[in-house]
């Protein structure tokens, strides 16, 4: 049985290479939406935070988790909305 740490590190390695390949192809025009979109994705921390905020323990970890849910939600909601708002403005030349 392979330990979980090895699995997770393996996933990390592959995702980083995949990330490089994907982002390298994004044109300079879209760099700002790319960043705000990446911001939204980094709000993925919310997925880890809900487990900690929902333990019902009323301890420190619970409060820290709840605060993390709020902060990460700002990223997720704000990030996706503002990216959409920007991308809606990008138009091709009409002939």
């Amino acid at each position: 049985m392979i330990p979980a740490e090895v699995f997770l590190t393996f996933i990390l390695m592959l995702s980083i290479f995949l990330g490089f390949e994907l982002i390298n192809k994004v044109p300079a025009t879209l760099h700002t939406p790319l960043m705000s979109g990446a911001n939204a994705i980094s709000g993925i921390t919310v997925v880890g935070a809900v487990g900690l905020a929902g333990t019902g323990q009323q301890d420190l970890a619970n409060w820290l988790g709840a605060a993390a849910v709020a902060l990460a939600s700002i990223n997720v909601v704000g990030g996706y909305l503002v990216t959409d708002r920007m991308l809606a403005m990008f138009k091709k030349k009409e002939n």
């Binding site: 740490e5 997770l8 996933i11 990390l12 980083i16 290479f17 990330g19 490089f20 994907l22 982002i23 390298n24 994004v26 044109p27 300079a28 025009t29 879209l30 760099h31 700002t32 939406p33 790319l34 960043m35 705000s36 979109g37 990446a38 994705i41 980094s42 993925i44 921390t45 997925v47 880890g48 809900v50 487990g51 900690l52 905020a53 929902g54 333990t55 019902g56 619970n62 820290l64 988790g65 709840a66 605060a67 993390a68 849910v69 709020a70 902060l71 700002i74 990223n75 997720v76 704000g78 990030g79 909305l81 503002v82 959409d84 920007m86 809606a88 403005m89 138009k91 091709k92 030349k93």
Partner: protein
């Protein structure tokens, strides 16, 4: 149930990847963003199904508060303020990861988990305070210049050593909570110290790097709470930020280390003797030249954002096109305060994206350009980067506007750019200075075309 949640995470990872792929072209980018957000929704719903969650009220409270702030910010932010907003969001992401790492601490944690907790606290903490400083500099809440002081290197080294020592001690004695507080405190301090010596003009690099860190922090938090999707999504963001950082550094011909540690723009720059004289031009005379031009290139910089001139630029652009001229925009990779800043502003003003040319595309055409109009850009069009070997920006790729037949430089005054470097472009024979607020000057040209 657990296995279903894991499968849902796989689906959302696939959607993130596909969404980012679609972000590679302006035509599909909006759909890509939708796909990515669907992935996020699936991941969040799946996480809520976890049997360990017994109490939903704090989660809901967090969603409501965070969601409301995020939605309001996304709606109200002006396009000129995007760099500030992205900087703040980077910081929130970092802080969330710090908190998750901290909360993941339990008596049963293995050494591997402890190390990942330290990493998420360290990266998350420095991302948070670093981003706040970057936000302050971008919004001019604090001075945007580079802050250097005697002994800075020593102070920073002590902080780094303190973090390392605290981290080791925390992993050895996880029940001694003061080691944890030490690492948290020093990480926050280190973020401040890391960003203050970086000047306003280097902000595109800093924002990209902090963007990357916010992803890496999520990644570390993923290890701490044993969650695949955090690792996948976090490393995608980390990779994206690093690539942007590289592009920005390359566009300035400087290494990342030079940007981060040199305090560029804080010291005295030796003034090179520039020959020639400044030749101002009036709006009326500029209009006569533009009216006769058939090929015009507009090169915007941060000054266009400050003057909020993008809409009147678009108006002028349309009038010149109706007059039979071909108009293109030349966008330098580090024009503005974040990657792609100018493109978003011009998109806001309805300039089609195929009219926005990258530096390598516009430079070969420069010799055929009748008039190049420089709006609030300075260092990115400085020919000293090609010609003056002693110049601090020598070797930086620039847009060669001096090769156009005529150059109009729209500028408030003769003050030098953020890098504090004299610009020989202003003294060239074919350069005319149109002094004043960029928005008013262009507005004046628009009125001349109208009559």
């Amino acid at each position: 149930m657990q296995i279903l949640i894991q499968f849902a995470f796989i689906i959302s990872a696939a959607l993130f990847i596909f969404g980012l792929k679609q972000l590679g072209s302006p035509a599909t980018a909006r759909r890509g963003n939708m796909i990515s957000s669907t992935g996020m929704l699936i991941a969040i719903v799946a996480a809520l199904m976890d049997q360990g969650i017994v109490d939903y009220q704090y989660i809901l409270l967090g969603f409501i508060i965070g969601g409301a702030i995020g939605a309001a910010a996304a709606r109200m932010v002006a396009m000129t303020s995007m760099p500030e907003m992205v900087a703040l969001f980077n910081g929130f992401g970092g802080m969330a990861s710090l908190l998750v790492g901290w909360a993941a601490l339990s008596p049963s944690a293995t050494t591997f988990t402890l190390v990942t907790i330290v990493l998420s606290i360290l990266i998350g903490g420095l991302t948070f305070t670093g981003s706040l400083i970057a936000w302050g500099k971008l919004s001019e809440t604090i001075g945007s210049g580079a802050v250097m002081f005697v002994g800075q290197q020593v102070v920073n080294s002590v902080i780094v050593l303190g973090i390392l020592g605290g981290a080791v001690m925390f992993c050895l004695q996880p029940d001694q909570v003061h080691w944890l507080y030490l690492v948290v405190g020093l990480s926050l301090l280190f973020g401040i110290m890391a960003v203050i010596p970086i000047g306003g003009a280097d902000m595109p690099v800093v924002i990209s790097l902090l963007n990357s860190y916010s992803g890496l922090a999520a990644c570390a938090a993923g290890f701490a709470v044993d969650n695949n999707i955090l690792i996948v999504a976090g490393s995608l963001v980390g990779a994206s930020g690093i690539i942007l950082t590289q592009i920005m550094c390359k566009a300035m011909n400087r290494s990342l280390a030079n940007v981060l540690f040199s305090g560029f723009g804080s010291g005295k720059v030796e003034t090179t003797e520039v020959e020639g004289e400044i030749k101002p031009i009036t709006v009326e005379d500029a209009y006569y030249v533009l009216e006769a031009a058939t090929n015009v290139a507009i090169v915007p910089g941060y000054g266009m954002a400050v003057a909020q001139a993008q809409h009147v630029v678009k108006e002028l652009c349309e009038l010149m096109e109706q007059n039979g001229a071909e108009v293109n925009f030349g966008i330098h990779p580090v024009a503005g305060r974040m990657p792609g800043h100018m493109n978003v502003l011009l998109a806001e003003a309805d300039v089609p994206y195929d009219q926005l040319l990258e530096m390598d595309d516009i430079n070969p055409r420069m010799e055929n350009v009748d008039v190049a109009i420089i709006i609030g850009a300075n260092d990115v069009v400085n020919p000293a980067a090609r010609e003056v070997e002693s110049s601090p920006i020598y070797g930086m790729p620039v847009i060669n506007v001096d090769q156009a037949r005529t150059v109009f430089v729209l500028k408030r005054s003769m003050a030098s750019g953020f890098a504090g470097i004299e610009n020989p472009l202003f003294y060239k024979d074919n350069t005319r200075m149109l002094f004043g607020d960029a928005k008013e000057s262009i507005g004046g040209l628009v009125r001349e075309f109208g009559t």
